[in-house]
Symmetry: C2
Subunit: 294 residues, 2 copies
């Protein structure tokens, strides 16, 4: 199966699973569940669950277990998008080609929908139905909480909102990326190894892959923000420049950024050599991440 087909079919599988895992819209609390569903079932590349599934496949972990962990991670990703888009944060109106949650609903509902998705992710990981041992489930919880918390996404978003953000140098931007988007991408790849209780060498190879991939992903994002259109991207473009944020493109130039992204993608792929052909889709994903148009 090629990468495009794999991503497309996996996207549908994850959406169907999220639809099953999220609570039904009913009763007086229905509005917040509706907003959670609106945001979590709005498409997107579903890259993170894909990384979980493919990293788990390296160790022959049954797909069903990987999918549930992937769904939990996607909930965390969607929560972070809702909160990042809020008026007090990036104040974005458009996401995945649709009005953001606080526009489609209202600010209070959007804040609560984010809180709800963040919490629901832990419900999913805690559920005994995953057939994972308690030891595996609690390790997933611990790593997911670390990736999402003040030492990960929350800390990254704080830096992204800080006055110092405008003047970050290359090391500062890279650090920001490693927290804001890198930590969850890293955990997505590590999750496969955790599910399999894989040996350290394999786990380290995946960590190296994820770090290169995450950085390449962010550089590609900066390039798209500078060069693409809202129509192609499904969200506003040119935001970093208009907000005066330092970016990889600003630091390296557009050509320099492109060279860096491609070289990181190649390095990411190389780190998976020890897994042989089983890692082909993950290697393709690294190339895709820097060549994507949206």
């Amino acid at each position: 199966m090629n990468l495009q087909d794999a991503l497309a079919s996996q996207g549908e599988t994850i959406s169907a699973l999220l639809d099953r895992l999220l609570p039904p819209v009913e009763g007086p609390r229905g509005r917040v569940v509706e907003a959670m569903r609106y945001s979590a079932l709005s498409g997107g590349k579903r890259l993170r669950p894909f990384l979980v599934r493919e990293s788990a496949r390296l160790f022959d972990v049954p797909e069903e277990r990987a999918l549930r962990a992937g769904a939990a991670i996607e909930m965390i990703h969607c929560y972070s998008l809702i909160h990042d888009d809020l008026p007090a944060m990036d104040d974005s109106d458009l996401r995945r080609g649709r009005p953001t949650a606080h526009v489609a609903y209202d600010e209070a509902t959007a804040i609560l929908a984010g809180d709800g998705l963040l919490t629901e992710a832990f419900t999913v990981l805690g559920d005994p139905q995953t057939h994972d041992s308690a030891a595996v489930r609690i390790e997933l919880v611990r790593h997911l909480a670390a990736a999402a918390g003040a030492a990960g996404m929350v800390g990254g978003q704080m830096i992204d909102m800080s006055p110092a953000r405008a003047h970050l140098d290359l090391a500062g931007i890279s650090h920001l990326q490693s927290l804001k988007t890198g930590a969850l991408i890293l955990f997505s790849c590590e999750a496969g190894a955790i599910l399999a209780q894989a040996p350290d060498t394999a786990r380290k190879a995946l960590v190296g892959y994820a770090q290169d991939l995450g950085l390449a992903f962010q550089i590609a994002d900066d390039i798209l923000d500078a060069e693409s259109t809202p129509e192609a991207l499904g969200k506003p473009t040119g935001q970093d420049a208009s907000l005066g944020k330092a970016t990889f493109v600003g630091q390296l130039g557009i050509d320099g950024a492109r060279v860096k992204a491609v070289s990181l993608a190649a390095s990411a792929a190389q780190r998976l050599d020890l897994f042989g052909q089983k890692a082909d889709l993950l290697k393709e994903a690294a190339a895709f991440v820097v060549s994507r148009q949206s």
Copy 2:
């Protein structure tokens, strides 16, 4: 030890533990950690950790384990206060006698501090240092996520923000309370039984106690909101009436509400008879909850 001394000494212990568990204020993400600490270390009754510790003591669970679970629950409680106080929600300026987080910092930082505390709670429960088995830790995670999520606090806050809120009848207000504040109080009491892997009869007795206590607590809150002053309470009063919210006081009258709260406190205490003298502090706590002045 009497209840007041027990609450005071336990409050200090929990604050010291939260201080140890929360990340240090450092680096460019420092501001969000500062806001997390500002809100989590601002005092408060620490009733929920007290309920964990006392319910755990019924089964001779080592105090250290109960304290960690209690700290995680207190983080969730503090996160919910930060988000409930936001301009888009209750728009409150005062909490525990100090400016709320979005006033002391800013809205973005307050949203992130709430997200950070919510996430950190799961880091604490996931930590192998608790000496709890993986099975116990994952059960705590699962129950805490359920209490905090759309079927618990998030759902309750959604109802509290809904247009239907003004016209709730007694059953509706009770349902709202069971989600918004009841679920976490219930989990606080159940946590002791989970830590001990206690038998069903004991667990059910604690659940009954917690349900009565939670409802009594909320009715007492409504009475204080109607009768107390911001100085005594450390937060604005008369809010329910000015926002046109249906309350227990509105439904039952002030005397009716008082009678109901006292009778629930008595019922709560009775449910713990099977534990003998070991439950004395929990019984006193039920009486305290309805007689407190703040």
